[in-house]
Symmetry: C2
Subunit: 291 residues, 2 copies
């Protein structure tokens, strides 16, 4: 379909379906993972296994990264055998991870000094969206590069929005996470009040989704809260990490975010009580232990 | 269209379009208001003007009330010349106001002692929804009475949900308001962070509405927050009143609602600073005065 050579690093819950979408779209794809059992299914689908991020970069025009946090992006991009050691000038690095915008700016500058271009392109929509190819991409970086790479990113995304210069995608993602974790608290408090009042929560969600209270979080997490079903779709440790990044950005800009700070405190408690791998709908369990 | 005789008390921003919907649907309608200039347009549309709530009730099978708060409902239902003084046994009182569930239970008991039936039927969807006939009704009270009255309420509502016994509609509405005022804070914090970071907020809302951060409040109030356009559609004094009712219900049940308490504190500040008549999107102005 295209002569573009792509690379993908970070074949986890989000990265794996995104890499598969690129293979399905017919792209040539190099992948790297430390564990061979992670690589095998991609090789079976036609991907080239490379022995390091540098090796992936050496054979790619565009390298995607989708890893857990700032430290992991720094390691695969700037670390030993990292992308920066293999990429030719003109290579584009598209980081789909959700990390600190200030770190993004530093990483992009280090790459830029070698003529390597970076887009920060965090996504929203979770594993479901990655599998269905319906993610939203919030991107920062050169607009022409964004436009050129958009058809490739569209393999996993239904909406691609250019937010501004490098780092702007990460700031947008921080805003996204703020809305989610704060809204979660409101939905959780409403569900608790309804339960203790003897209301049928299924019927409540049905009523509330018809008016101004309607939200995607209530749709997706309301029933999970009601059933106390916290099998991880969006693991709380990720929202915990993300809201602390958002609070750091806010602190650096002097923006007061009391509701985000409260949500961070509730997510802190959830981590302390062993809920890191639970779906973040489990914030309701922190509230119900309160008095 | 029907031989049912209806009455409506409370021809304000919400009540007026709801009463007009009943007239348009062809019902016989009696109305009462203290000020003649409020009554005149309804008389012009064919309504009968009555000199008191009691007089409305005396000529109605179903009497609707849509007034500001608990005290106003108590006055028009149980007060001097109130509905209870005019209604025959078997009359149904449908209270569309948003008030304290415990007060609703008391009022229903007082009516019940005279053989008058009450449904609490608060609505969501605001003035826009009332005008378009697309409100959501959350109702408490006898289910057969609810079923019998639903076709009439449908003149203003696209969704009618029976939540349980008397008071259950008000608890559901409290849950609705919790979701709204907490979500508002998250959207406001996200908008402030975006602005201070130099993001285009229109583009941000477009991106965020595609994923898990999506909500009706972001759709409706996000642009108002960005433009600092607070012309009242949902006046903040109403959300302020409602969240304090919700907190009282929660306190009586021992439910911890820290996010609702924070939202109440922000709405308190907005009232103190003269923002009672502003749209509640104006909570963003309280946050931006913080440091």
């Amino acid at each position: 379909m295209s002569s573009l050579r792509l690379g993908f690093i970070g074949l986890g819950a989000m990265g794996a379906p995104m890499a598969r979408n690129l293979l399905r779209a017919g792209y040539t794809l190099s992948v790297h993972a430390r564990r061979p059992e992670v690589l095998a299914p991609f090789v079976a689908l036609g991907a080239h296994a490379a022995r390091s991020p540098a090796a992936v970069a050496a054979q790619s025009d565009i390298v995607f990264t989708m890893v857990t946090d700032t430290a992991a992006v720094e390691a695969v991009v700037l670390g030993h055998d990292g992308i920066i050691e293999g990429a030719a000038p003109g290579t584009v690095v598209i980081d789909h991870s959700t990390i600190d915008p200030a770190a993004t700016t530093r990483i992009a500058a280090a790459l830029g000094a070698r003529g390597i271009v970076m887009l920060d392109a965090p996504v929203s929509g979770g594993v479901i969206g990655a599998e269905a190819g319906t993610l939203v991409v919030m991107a920062g970086g050169d607009e022409a590069v964004f436009a050129r790479c958009s058809p490739v990113m569209a393999a996993s995304a239904q909406r691609l929005v250019h937010m501004g210069p490098v780092g702007a995608g990460q700031v947008a993602k921080a805003c996204n996470q703020i809305c989610i974790v704060v809204n979660q608290l409101g939905v959780a408090e409403a569900m608790l009040l309804a339960e203790r009042s003897g209301l049928d929560t299924t019927r409540l969600i049905d009523a509330l989704q018809g008016g101004f209270a309607a939200s995607r979080i209530m749709e997706v997490q309301g029933p999970k809260m009601a059933r106390r079903d916290f099998e991880g779709r969006i693991e709380s440790r990720l929202h915990h990490k993300d809201i602390h990044v958002a609070l750091e950005v806010a602190a650096s800009l002097g923006v007061a975010m009391p509701a985000s700070a409260l949500a961070a405190a509730v997510l802190d408690r959830l981590q302390e009580s062993g809920g890191a791998a639970l779906d973040s709908a489990a914030v309701i369990t922190v509230l119900e232990r309160e008095r």
